[in-house]
Symmetry: C2
């Protein structure tokens, strides 16, 4: 990597030409951009997620503990079912009065085109369809507040996502989250890969034991690690203490203005999606992934 001056400027319009698939527009339009459910759906509800749909299903799990339910089962299918979808649909159709398939494969009744941003869309559809519109509205408010500070028109010094992108440049993020957000680290790992086209590390479930042992043997990693910290429960505080002497530095994410764990998690995710977007531009990569995934679409057909 050359001198800093050789990197694209994030406040320079020309930089955004690398965004060939216009992911920046999709990010800006995201709060409120989801397919609207039509009609009524018989309760009780079940939710199952495959591929891209996995995180939305986990976010909904505390509300809908069952995967298949006698009323309506929502199948958040992504598009690379690889044979698993067929068996799942057969089981769902036997169990449920109504089965709604969302995704981009041929079985999808509600189209959700492949995108790094689909977790929001899957989640919002199901919230709307299951009488949880108020929670959905709080998610949208949280994302709208984030957008004000994160979109490209906000210049670098006042834009936390642009600053974060600079902090993550040429480093490997290590996601530090707590039990309040059990799947957030993996969701951040996913969105960071799909937009910034870069590796990051989500710890396994016993995260403290991992953080304290995994960095013992090799004090000179090729790429400096940066701990990205979201939340402040006791496990996060302990992890921060453990990592302070073990990583290059810690990026503390400011708590989002959001009520409740689901809106909070989505706000963190949305902020990291923006940071990944700016980081892709710094790497002179297209932040979209339609071209990159073409090979997978061919292989999985």
């Amino acid at each position: 990597m050359g001198a800093m001056s050789a990197l694209p400027g994030l406040d320079d319009l020309a930089t955004y030409r690398a965004d060939k698939g216009r992911l920046g527009r999709a990010l800006e339009a995201l709060p409120g951009d989801f397919p609207r459910p039509e009609g009524a759906f018989p309760a009780p509800y079940g939710v199952v997620g495959l591929g891209e749909g996995w995180w939305a299903a986990e976010l909904l799990r505390p509300r809908f503990p069952d995967t298949l339910a006698p009323g309506t089962t929502f199948v958040l299918a992504g598009g690379y079912g690889l044979g698993r979808l067929a068996g799942l649909l057969a089981a769902a159709r036997e169990t449920s009065r109504r089965v709604v398939v969302l995704g981009f494969g041929p079985e999808a009744e509600v189209p959700v085109p492949s995108s790094p941003l689909t977790p929001y869309r899957y989640l919002r559809y199901v919230l709307e369809a299951t009488g949880e519109a108020e929670l959905g509205a709080e998610v949208d408010r949280a994302l709208s507040r984030e957008r004000e500070r994160l979109a490209p028109h906000q210049k670098s010094p006042e834009n936390p996502a642009k600053l974060l992108a600079w902090g993550l440049l040429e480093r490997i993020p290590l996601w530090v989250t707590g039990p309040r957000h059990p799947f957030l680290a993996q969701a951040l790992q996913q969105v960071f890969a799909r937009i910034a086209k870069s590796l990051s590390i989500a710890p396994p479930p016993a995260a403290l034991e991992f953080f304290i042992t995994a960095l013992e043997a090799r004090h000179e990693q090729g790429d400096p690690l940066v701990g990205v910290v979201a939340g402040d429960d006791e496990e996060v505080r302990l992890a921060r203490e453990v990592l302070a002497t073990r990583v290059d530095f810690l990026e503390e994410l400011a708590p989002p203005e959001a009520q409740g764990p689901v809106p909070e998690a989505l706000a963190y995710w949305y902020r990291l999606a923006w940071a990944a977007y700016y980081l892709a531009l710094l790497y002179r990569q297209d932040p979209g992934d339609h071209q990159v995934l073409a090979r997978l679409r061919e292989a999985a057909e």
Copy 2:
């Protein structure tokens, strides 16, 4: 890192002096080394895992879908409950006729001292206590077969774990597993950290999309990546194809001689525990982690 000749020899007895906590002995003794349940436990059964206990709980989940059950709830507690254990125990005692706490904290009725090898011990205790002794015996047979080829008395050219350790030296493993073993990648990430004291990468649930995007931006990582491949279902085959051009090389793990997904998963995990053990010795690290975790024990008290 100096020349290869400067590295410890894995067929040289002196090398094993670095194993201060005698983890090698514990590894060799592992098949059959677990606390035996006493008496009878009323059905139906529930299982919940915290900290070190997480993987055993996930392995048992298909048999015991409930966390808390009216009969007996087994709490695989690890030892760093950080306040979560108290609430969980209160709920379990309200729901269940019998609550059995395993772990190394003060609440543990069945002592399971902290160790990288506890997933096996938690799993075996619960299998024995719930009438699944035959499955437990198959786990033990699979591990005993692995041990014949992996223990230190097997010299390097015939010892797959020693060979694997050389292949992983100064590299970052990327764990490639399929839907047959949904939590294996994270279990390998954990045991590799705790024994080899090194970082590795487990992909998020939509692993194919991750593998294909995460390596796009930066073709020169500091540390070479090695894809470690376990299993051969369609997702693993696709991931292998995607990674072939994106990582330094692929290590294909030979399928273990084991019947069923749980014995298979334990056999893969045990083989990687041995490989991590040899890798720790190559790094001149104590393969045990009692000293390393002392700081966490203090902080969590």
